[in-house]
Amino acid sequence: MQSQRVWLLGFWASPFVQRVKWALKLKGVEYEYIEEDLFDKSSLLLKLNPVQKLVPVLVHNRKPISESILILEYIDEVWKQNPLLPHDPYERAQARFWAKFAEEKVRESTWDALCSRGEEREKAVKSSIEALEKFEEELKLKGTKFFGGETIGFVDLVAGFISYQLPVFEEVGSMKILDSSKFPATFDWIYNFLNHPVIKDDLPAKDLMFDYYAKRSKEISDEKDSCRNA
């Protein structure tokens, strides 16, 4: 690998990888993309991320960086154009707070909802809605086109999965989480986000996502049931 080149190890359906792809595109950074088969991990991935064995891994100057949110911070610090985080320390703290919230409270509950059944699923759907209500409130308070203001920023990229992946989860699980009448600000944000030039041409195909997540949802739910009954 040439030291100046940037490499990204990823998986086509991963929302974590997607965040990094968007960030690199926003910054105009050229990179080589390597698709990983997460169900048959390569020796390269195991070498670059031996502890967690997960994608994304960004390699820059021959050094690997893992964890999508940390990768976004790294990208923002190395390539200064089109900043993702605000300049002011308090605003930066707020952006980090909402990115963490989007990841830990929103995304994790929507994934739990997808990969569970019955009462467990109902509980996770409720948690997702509660988390999204807080997200909606914050968007209303900000009153801007994106979380980052008039341009896409850190929180938009981390929360971006809501715009294109959550609807697929809802369809796979026959769940209603994002009701447009209850989340007007979120729907406006989704519309703005999906129509952004960097975002709209770089999304995984909906039908492929549906098939993949339908399969994963069943596999994980079955596994949970068999652990419970063991």
Binding site: S66, A93, F97, F101
Partner: protein, 219 residues
């Protein structure tokens, strides 16, 4: 000038200790306000409506929640004294990764040690020691996780040392004998005034854990 700095905290909170250490390292004068956990004040609900947790750093009336986020804020605002994060972006990424590891492993497993029973507790004890050994590996021969200088990961991790007595008592095991390198590092950190003055007394931490156990109905 520093402005008005208030730290909304709880004596035994390892997350609060992180911020006490950082503010001391930077020489920032602040007002300490104790929350009487597990009871929470209306002021806490007002300052942290989303998570309703301590610590909350309040700078000129504006609240910053989540200890690692507040730690980075302190480092950025008071950047000219004792920087905690390195300046190199790759090293910063590694520091953040290890601080996350502390939250994901040390904290969560530690909590299971005092709150779980039987097999779940035994598994947590085993994984906790494994996590400390991973950290020992990362420390290597360096005096601190930050290298020659006390830094971000050291601040994130050292407060948990004050909880070891509580973990050992609740879990009926010894940590120090299994992780001597970790203890050596911890004692080195304790030599810093910012740390020794910020860490809670281990006996008082244990008393707090007993209150938590009662509150959550854990035997």
């Amino acid at each position: 000038m520093d402005g008005e700095v208030i730290l909304l905290d709880a004596y035994a909170s390892m997350f609060g200790m992180r911020l006490r250490i950082a503010l001391a390292e930077k020489g920032v004068k602040y007002e300490y306000r104790e929350e009487n956990l597990p009871k929470k004040s209306p002021f806490l609900f007002q300052m942290n409506p989303i998570h309703k947790k301590v610590p909350v750093l309040i700078h000129n009336g504006k609240p910053i929640c989540e200890s690692l986020i507040a730690l980075q804020y302190i480092d950025e605002v008071w950047h000219d004294k004792n920087p905690l994060l390195p300046s190199d972006p790759y090293k910063r990424a590694q520091a953040r990764l290890w601080a996350d590891f502390v939250d994901q492993k040390v904290h969560i497993l530690g909590r299971k040690i005092w709150s779980a029973k039987g097999e779940e507790q035994e598994a947590a004890k085993k994984e906790f020691i494994e996590a400390l050994k991973v950290l020992e590996g990362e420390l290597g021969e360096k005096p601190y996780f930050g290298g020659e200088e006390f830094g971000y990961v050291d601040v994130a991790l050292i407060p948990f040392y004050s909880w070891f007595h509580a973990y050992e008592t609740c879990g009926n095991f010894k940590i120090g004998t299994q992780c001597p390198k970790f203890v050596a590092w911890a004692k080195r950190c304790m030599q810093r005034e910012s740390v020794s003055k910020s860490l809670a007394d281990p006996e008082k931490v244990y008393d707090f854990v007993l209150i938590l156990k009662k509150h959550f109905g854990v035997e």
